[in-house]
Symmetry: C2
Subunit: 145 residues, 2 copies
DNA sequence: CGGAATCCTAGTGGATACTG
DNA sequence: CAGTATCCACTAGGATTCCG
């Protein structure tokens, strides 16, 4: 086990967690211990393709090619990789039916469901504020020449 | 201007927006028009460094090196790039004080503030569920050999 | 159908050094 | 202090081909 840091957590202003016996890390610290899992996880969840996949799986189970078609522009490789990672992280369940032709279905795990609200609000925010951002960009760009 | 698609949006199951006169796109479609802004924006917001920066700027304005120290492990280059992008997107405000030595402060814009809740819930989720995910990974990995 | 494997390129991002 | 600039390793990710 990595030794317990005496919590000089630089980022969070006195979050005051009882420094003893923590196996949990905040996203602002980084060192080599366990390959910095928290950051990895944040990176995985905050991934464009992951967000879209999870978002789509809200209402129902979907098949591979169904997801592929639903997410316009995703390559087969990236969908494969994304789904695999989400499955590994326990966010998505994969079910293979022993049929010919093969059928594979993906759905959200209970853990995945706990993320759903947040993710959808992120996606919704993006859709709702796109014009503002495009406008801000234009303004910034021509101010800077 | 890109012509308005007649909305064969494949991803969203009948979101039923009044197809006429929309300048807004959903994140599931993709084609060349305007370099696919929505996706770009989603990608920017759902970026590890962006999330951390915005999260930190919740309570107060911060200076460059202050942010640098707060986000353990971020390179100076990435902080520069991230801040620049966030500023360009109108999410963060940059204020330069004409002093020696120079002082530059960053804070959230009103638009940035509308994102804050969502982002923090994402960050919090990550911190809270890290053990579960680490466990899921271990399980997956040794099931697969 | 649902992938896995290979190849290959554009971009990400760290390290380092220099500047106003 | 708050950057910019350069170099460079690494990898993300598209295109293509093959497989059970």
């Amino acid at each position: 086990m990595a030794e317990v840091r005496t919590s000089t957590s630089p980022g969070s202003f006195e979050v005051t967690e009882p420094a003893g016996e923590r196996d949990r890390w905040d996203v602002f610290q980084w060192d080599a211990r366990e390959d910095c899992e928290v950051r990895q996880i944040l990176d995985r969840i905050a991934d464009k393709w992951s967000l879209l996949v999870i978002s789509l799986l809200e209402e129902r189970t979907m098949r591979f090619n169904e997801l592929r078609r639903a997410i316009d522009g995703i390559s087969q490789r990236m969908l494969t990789v994304t789904l695999r990672n989400l499955e590994r992280d326990g966010l998505v369940c994969r079910t293979v039916y022993a049929e010919v032709p093969p059928r594979v279905e993906y759905c959200l795990s209970p853990l995945g469901r706990t993320l759903l609200g947040t993710i959808q609000s992120l996606v919704r925010w993006t859709e709702e504020h796109q014009e503002e951002i495009v406008r801000a960009r234009a303004e910034f760009d021509d101010a800077a020449g």
